[in-house]
Point group: C2
Chain length 472, copies 2
């Protein structure tokens, strides 16, 4: 994520310790991508030194950050070097020769243009087997073994201020979901509590447990920075899309666009943030005001009337400027430049437990939420054709590509392939990444319209909803 | 509002005092309904005695409540008695002979079937002149006088636990809006602060000032209970619909339904309420838990696993029952029976400053919000025909009538009248109220399908968007 955290790397605090224990392999059944999520050749970074304030050079910290790419890319050491090359920005996809991702999912990614040492995006695609806590009653089952069930899982993690949180989430979040889904076996229909609402609750809690694990282990291990998380779970006919951050998911179905997520930023979450600052003013540390003003107030404007809005307002009104209003606004800036406490540009995600306000010890984490919004799409309610897809992308894609442009690319690329050609979804993912990256020209990466392409990390999943090799 | 507040009237606390000072008449220009909002013949209730707990009989308190009907109904003393008759439930509308409401607005209302002594709904329809705070620059003006501008105003107020708050709001809220809109004259375009967002902010703040006035004057005057408020402001080509409560506004345009509000109830605002209880546990007084469970927990279930959800969750998950979970849930019940603190079924509105939890001194007001959600509809973006209308109704209408049924009635009634017949909108309002009330049959008010009609107060405005006498 490009410049999402201003000066935040300088505030990372990690103590030394043993390398993280390798979690035991996930319990997978029929999983085409059952390799361990962290390849043995991926270098592990040494523990970072304790942060000491804004004077610590960012590069020093970043040089020590972990670096790995998704296992399913099956990168050789040479391939890993090419994936890590900011100058070439080669688009990476799983090899044609290897085992395909579940549902013939397409995937492509590209590293940023130099804003961070490594690609801070991570991805995961798995088939996960859930053992029931006890005997399952009343729950229909996927093709499964024993008393459990299977879910399909895709995750995109867009890291900031280091790659550690994204790497950890890509390795572990689906296991937290698996753990939570064990409770499905206890379920029996009661009142408003549907099977679907239990899956939603399981995903919500899994995000929380993942975040808590990051908090617990941040001192002993290398869990630097934070990450946005966009996750898809397919279970028993329904697609659950969970988003915490500013990645985005859309379904393109017969040319129609169905939004499956919304972004959580200082602008979209302004009222939640302001309410928290209002109810818990101690979190503002006497440095910030929960009120928003159209511009920074000058001391000489004390007593004058100025536009403002608070946690209850969507509109603007006038107030007389008081001394407290001279503090820096909790939320300020517009668009991609909007920030919480002048520091972070995304308001939901995992990690960031050590994030402090620049030149201050004030923690920002209390304002960040690890809870995703979960949207549910019932795959059985519509007869999907091979051209219907769910597209997941990190903000590197969406910063320069509209939903409509993505839908147009879906149409253009898929119509160039036979409907039963499973490589078409990877080709589509590559086209989307290439279209957002652009080509090097005129001192920058440029799109065909000569506008600047995205200099951010870009990662895209294309999940066919009715294609060859899909659930059906 | 039927049974919206359980036992709440017993907790009203008002001290004695002088009768309320009559506010000075509103500053109106070209107002067809420029009569004072409170007709001289409307009886004013004496100040209520101090409430002394749940033993106070509701009837005693209610008997002292104020009773008036909207001025524009021009009711004679005899008419007022008929409007107050629970047995006949005659539908009331402005007389054909009098001056029409602005825009030929249609209006109809009917009293409840006996749940409260008087009709606790109130309504207001005015043209309001706003004088600028200082010379207006850059703001286009309606037909106006001097340096000000005019707005058209419609308000529906659905009272509970007495009629005082609704009556006061119907008399004063538009004056607070007028006061706030004076700031428009200070406006000059800057960054994201549009003219529209200033009007929205003015309406939001007017609701807050109205609520604060009720708080200030509740001891000296008769401001009993609370009320939902649904308000429409037309200004400079745009319709602003502000809703705080469970009334509803929809536009029916060429048969299409455009929702212009959403309802604020313990169910729709569960997460806001739970968050407040979580962040400010002292507001729960040790009597309530902010967690929600599908059913009340029994003491013998301590230590067992139970479904729950908290302020962050839309789904359900399991937790081990602890001692605190045995407290009563802050939010419980479903549909029309959902309650905050087992007491009130609506979570936004004006008043309710004295509302306490039944058999307790715990105040409920901190959980209620006086802030409306404001939606904006640009009238200039579409060429409206005389059959396009904005329908406002209290929950008495919507409890038994769907949006589609309202749209069908719009079509049926309006097509029976000439497009330029200004009485068609009143006929439509009457048809909607009659359709929700039903007719007395089989020991109750019944709809044609033999289901029970609404026993609640029912009030309906029908505002033509392109009809005769409208803004154009």
């Amino acid at each position: 994520m490009l410049s999402r955290v201003r000066s935040a790397v300088a505030h990372l605090v990690s103590s030394g310790g043993a390398p993280p224990p390798r979690p035991k392999s996930p319990d997978l059944s029929n999983a085409p991508s059952a390799q361990p999520a962290v390849p043995p050749e991926a270098p592990r970074s040494p523990p970072a030194r304790a942060g000491s304030g804004s004077s610590a050079p960012a590069k020093t910290v970043e040089a020590r950050a972990s670096f790995s790419r998704p296992t399913f890319l099956q990168l050789s050491p040479g391939g890993l070097r090419r994936a890590d090359d900011h100058a070439g920005r080669a688009v990476q996809s799983p090899p044609d020769t290897g085992r395909r991702l579940p549902w013939s999912t397409g995937y492509a990614e590209v590293i940023n243009a130099g804003k961070s040492r490594h690609n801070e995006d991570q991805a995961c695609c798995e088939v996960v087997y859930v053992e029931g806590r006890r005997s399952v009653s009343g729950v229909p089952r996927e093709p499964s073994r024993g008393q459990g069930l299977c879910f399909y899982y895709w995750g995109l993690f867009d890291g900031h201020a280091g790659g550690g949180a994204a790497e950890m989430a890509s390795r572990l979040l689906h296991r937290h979901i698996r753990e939570q889904l064990k409770d499905l076996s206890c379920w029996s229909s009661q009142k408003e509590v549907t099977h679907e609402s239990l899956v939603v609750g399981a995903i919500e809690n899994a995000f929380q447990f993942m975040d808590e694990q990051m908090a617990r282990e941040r001192h002993g291990h290398q869990v630097e920075g934070g990450c946005c998380a966009l996750v898809v779970v397919y279970l028993l006919g329904k697609v659950y899309v969970a988003n915490a951050g500013d990645s985005r998911a859309i379904i393109v179905r017969n040319g129609e666009i169905i939004p499956m997520s919304r972004e959580f930023t200082p602008e979209t979450e302004r009222q939640r943030l302001q309410l928290l600052g209002f109810l818990k003013p101690e979190l503002l540390g006497g440095e910030f005001t929960h009120l928003e003003f159209p511009r920074r107030i000058q001391p000489k404007e004390l007593g004058q009337r100025m536009l403002y809005r608070d946690q209850n307002m969507t509109g603007w009104a006038y107030k007389k400027i008081e001394l407290e209003d001279l503090r820096f606004p909790l939320v300020c800036g517009e668009g991609k430049k909007a920030r919480v406490m002048a520091t972070i540009g995304v308001t939901r995600g995992l990690g960031d437990h050590n994030l402090k306000v620049c030149s201050s010890t004030l923690p920002i984490k209390p304002f960040l939420s690890c809870f995703p919004e979960v949207r549910v799409y019932d795959l059985t309610q519509y007869e999907h054709c091979p051209d219907d897809v769910l597209v997941l992308g990190t903000d590197g894609l969406w910063d320069v590509t509209s939903d409509c442009e993505v839908a147009a690319t879906v149409d253009r690329v898929l119509s160039a392939y036979e409907p039963n050609d499973p490589s078409r979804y990877t080709a589509l993912a590559q086209a989307l990444v290439l279209g957002a990256r652009g080509t090097p020209r005129d001192r920058g990466w440029r799109l065909p319209n000569n506008k600047l392409g995205s200099g951010d990390d870009i990662s895209v999943f294309v999940i066919p909803l009715g294609g060859p090799g899909s659930y059906s």
